[in-house]
Symmetry: C2
Subunit: 262 residues, 2 copies
């Protein structure tokens, strides 16, 4: 914890510093602690865990969240933002919590792989900080974030109080606002699912073919009740603890049995 018992909270996202979701998240975090923002200067959705290695990075202080909040907009990816925050903006100060979001759209199941929101949180975990990515399962341009306040604050306070295991980032998905009250919060696992892509093939005014990525989400285990997909569909908030050790331990012995004779 930082001076005056106020925790230091680093905020980022992938929809860019002007998005509604990060404004909501900053407002909530200001009720909890001292807020520092380093967020992309443009939308970075679908950037996965990309980092900027072949190009320069630019960082500009931004007045967007008022005098109380030190905020920077960054030309890079969400993962770049967290790296620059740690090594340049905060330097010797350590955040008590890294939060990312609130993403405009769900990041359940396989989407965690492609999600810039979660890459900021996972980068926080790599750096050894407690980290949470928040996403709202509402894709409409008029998405209402107001019901998130209560739950996001509750989860952030719990994380500060209880601590998150080292190397873990929480992936929190919040149901879209509806007339039905949110039923509660459930800790669960990532659903096995994938996107059935369909590329929308078009021809540009110069006669050249191009594509838009589109498609449908397919939950491959719709009957499992312990997944983020199921929990969210039942109007609960889902929390999946995520790790960045990708080793498939269960597959080690099978691959080990291959006889290479080199």
């Amino acid at each position: 914890m930082q001076t005056k018992n106020k925790p230091l909270i680093l905020v980022s996202n992938d929809d860019g510093i002007t998005a509604k979701g990060i404004a909501t998240l900053v407002e909530i975090m200001q009720e909890i602690g001292e807020v520092v923002v380093v967020a992309p200067d443009k939308p970075q959705s679908g950037m996965g865990h990309a980092i900027t290695v072949g190009n320069t990075l630019h960082l500009h202080e931004s007045p967007i969240f008022g005098k109380e909040v030190l905020a920077y907009e960054c030309s890079g990816t969400p993962a770049d933002c967290i790296k620059l925050a740690k090594h340049y903006v905060l330097k010797e100060r350590k955040p008590d919590l890294v939060v990312s979001g609130i993403n405009h759209g769900a990041n359940t199941s396989i989407s965690v792989l492609y999600s810039g929101t979660m890459s900021a949180a996972i980068e926080g975990a790599v750096e050894g900080f407690p980290a949470i990515g928040f996403s709202l399962a509402d894709y409409s341009s008029q998405a209402d974030f107001s019901h998130c306040y209560y739950y996001v604050k509750k989860i952030a306070l719990k994380a500060l109080e209880e601590g998150i295991p080292k190397g873990v980032a929480l992936n929190v998905n919040i149901p879209k606002k509806s007339e039905e009250q949110i039923k509660g919060i459930k800790v669960c696992r990532q659903a096995k699912a994938r996107w059935i892509e369909e590329f929308d093939q078009r021809v540009d005014p110069r006669g050249r073919t191009y594509f838009w990525l589109t498609g449908e989400f397919l939950n491959e285990e719709p009957r499992a009740t312990d997944t983020d997909e199921f929990v969210l569909s039942e109007n609960y908030i889902s929390i999946v603890p995520c790790q960045y050790d990708l080793t498939a331990y269960y597959a080690l012995s099978q691959i080990n049995a291959w006889k290479f004779e080199v």
Copy 2:
């Protein structure tokens, strides 16, 4: 397997279609089966599992690998390449193997998160195909890929023969060429490590500050002998089976013990 018992092999990478590593990989795979290439039209290193959602995708047939190889260059990321290969280039044909690389530089340990090479392989696994990412632990511009032939072919043939568990992509790292003979192949886990970033801060001709991401790699468990880092340092080829279920199962009970009282 495809017609004439020749396996269909889909090749991609992240260094771009003109890189030396993919030329090597295509040559090796032509000795095994029918090769189809869909690779980025420019370097995509560090792109992690990024996909192109807010922009158009372009795909052009390329004669770069000769008449025997159907090859396309794609404006997108490595993950985009695999998606376009499956849904547009191959359509109803299923690859027997997806290979990515050979990356110019190692992708051990935490680098798997940022690696475009491995994102192509993991995207292959997501789509249900046996998939392998190959990387050469040599960063020099004159990197010699010649010693890779024997081992890459051996590993690809084994994968075709034995099968790779569903949802798993192999992360193969090959030591740089030296006078010492490679000792063999070891199946191992991802080392716990991270990058200690140092941002190289400079001022452009117009007086504006910018940064280059740089830094040093820190192996946090240098004494563990079952990691990819260790194995590679001992002049073995490392194989880590990787999964895309990021759920930290060991952390579920701890987070579940949080009492939210909502």
